[in-house]
Subunit: 431 residues, 2 copies
Amino acid sequence: MFRVPRTSLAVLLSLSLAGTAAAQPKPTGADRTVRAIRDSAGFKVAVATLDREHERIVADTITLTEIPAPPFKEKVRAEAYLALLKSHGLSVVEMDAEGNVMGLRRGTAAAGQPLVVIAAHLDTVFPEETNVKVRREGTKLFAPGVGDDTHSLAVLLGYIRALDAGKIRTKRDILFVGNVGEEGPGDLRGVRYIFTKGKYKDRIAAFFSMDGTSAERVTYGAVGSRRYRVTFKGPGGHSYGAFGIVNPMGAMAKAVSDFNMIQVPTKPRTTYAASVVGGGTSVNSIPDAIWVEVDMRSEGAPELAQLDAKFQQIVKDAVAAENAARSTRVGSVTAEVKLIGDRPTGSTRLDAEIVQVTEAAVRAAGYTPVLGASSTDSNMPISLGIPAVTIGSGGSGGRAHAVDEWIDVAKPESLKGMQVGLSALLAMAGV
Amino acid sequence: MFRVPRTSLAVLLSLSLAGTAAAQPKPTGADRTVRAIRDSAGFKVAVATLDREHERIVADTITLTEIPAPPFKEKVRAEAYLALLKSHGLSVVEMDAEGNVMGLRRGTAAAGQPLVVIAAHLDTVFPEETNVKVRREGTKLFAPGVGDDTHSLAVLLGYIRALDAGKIRTKRDILFVGNVGEEGPGDLRGVRYIFTKGKYKDRIAAFFSMDGTSAERVTYGAVGSRRYRVTFKGPGGHSYGAFGIVNPMGAMAKAVSDFNMIQVPTKPRTTYAASVVGGGTSVNSIPDAIWVEVDMRSEGAPELAQLDAKFQQIVKDAVAAENAARSTRVGSVTAEVKLIGDRPTGSTRLDAEIVQVTEAAVRAAGYTPVLGASSTDSNMPISLGIPAVTIGSGGSGGRAHAVDEWIDVAKPESLKGMQVGLSALLAMAGV
């Protein structure tokens, strides 16, 4: 997950509202809905439960964070989460064929009617051997994956207990999901399965992805991404004896170096990174293959396409430059460009109910909504026209995707933040 | 191993000799010594034995090639070779503390007198998972490591059998060695041990390294090398969320790209290669560490030092460029430059007996000696002032250090080539 505020839009919205109501925005229908939910006796009991059980949510966060869950290796964590979902008394708790785990909290509507999904992802970006031991310093928890997205998994369990304690019956069923494959190489395989093959695929009326901590964010835009693994191949040979022949390392280095100099627009936000690299036989050999992975993203489809085209040209040019600079007598350098990730760009309409109630839920909790676009599990429903937003689990955090990732679970902010998701969820499920 | 002919020198020598003896070089003392050895009845029986047992040498080559022996993981092959040495009836067959295996063929001199070593190296450049199955096509054998240096191991065994069959008693003891650590990361650890700590260290009067196939080569020069592993570190972070921060991949790519453009002298031969690279967390993360290994070599010490200095500056500049190009707000890119290989430059004197008799042995077999410099196990004795040359096992081969490495074991050339090493060895051991 990640998003960056489309600040300009938020500012424009708040300015225009300020103009009509003397710095006090006029409540919308969504605001009234959320207000009614928050004022209900059941919601108050639910919040009191989250308050009382704060340390339990922290403990669950630590337990789950310390189970490694690299892309495609989420199974152990998934089974642990499945067991937790089962212990929370949901009606149909299961793991699907892709490895997602889920449990249904039945609403008052007849079985088989449209439902609302709230999901957190099981996977982290970190390889299996990463030290995932959580270090706690006061209210801060430090560990790879702790905020992206393990804390959210724990918060969803807190929601189930809170709803049960508050005896809150929703109209629609709510499906609680811990899904696989959100990060990098997973390429949204978890939600892709849920929306295209899973048993609930035709029943999903609205989708919340809870990803990261920020309580202010309302990610309605899907940042598109294209990811490639480029393998540069050459003849290889002895570093001394074969000196003078082409080296695929040279093509890789020039390609990455030139890629690294591309200027991208800040609006729509467009980014790139060369992220993972490998190859070579031994220090005294000219390598026969070097591969590198790159990530490109944009809020704008044309900008992403343009960046992609530049990248393709850079790879071609780097190969040509290496073949021109050194001897090809025993073979040339070639590049195989393999698409390993392709996420659609798109957005949920700003006037869609899910965006409206989530913004209202953010405001009701005392925050200013920050609307934005990102690359998250919501990209999948958004690309299918299903209303979806990505929200945060509350509290704060930083350094996602870095080994020094952290979250702050100080109770006041956490509790305030958790009410955003809970009230938005109830607004969409109906009470 | 590898060497490239110092052609100019060979040409100059032959021209000057040509000038004094009307295109027919005058036989030297060494030529007479080698001639006498070749003409002896014992040597003829020895050669007949090599001839008869040709397929046994090929079979041993295949057997040993198919035992993987990456740097630091030579043990299984070493034990197999130890067993073969034992079965050849040498007097003291053992593995030393470094993992070298060796056996002594006693001479007629009193025990403990100076001896001659002939060694082939056990290790290959290829990682453990490399397919080392030998593919035979007629007289050609294809497999990683087959010629560098596994065939030599089999030829040494052939020599022992041939000497025994010819009932050849040398004056000096001959130590037959299969040593570890010649390639890349091994950094000559095998011979370093033999010459600085091994039980024979104070007795070695002359050293032959048999490495590669060429029967014409007389490698008397030690190509120096410096090898580094550079680790570029940075803060790392989310590829989208943290876009704009420094990326160690950028510094690595610029460093390799600039390194790749260095112009080096062809005389003294000077080479470089970026050879192995790795790092990164996942495709959607800006990496926090990228490492790359480089190899630099030269026949000339000042040229090597100059190349090294350029490399160090390039690394510094690449780090500075990355830190200038992107934000360092969460941390800067740094580079840790670690020396992982350092082999001395030097040479055995051209008028040394070992060079003279080896040249004579090459000529006596019908070849033109190609004198040259290389980076081989001989670098170690050469740096200690002990007479040493690196020779070939006979036959031909190519693509050393590449997975399509091959040798041609066609009998006539192989047999002709094997007599070079055998007669030079006998000349140095004394008969």
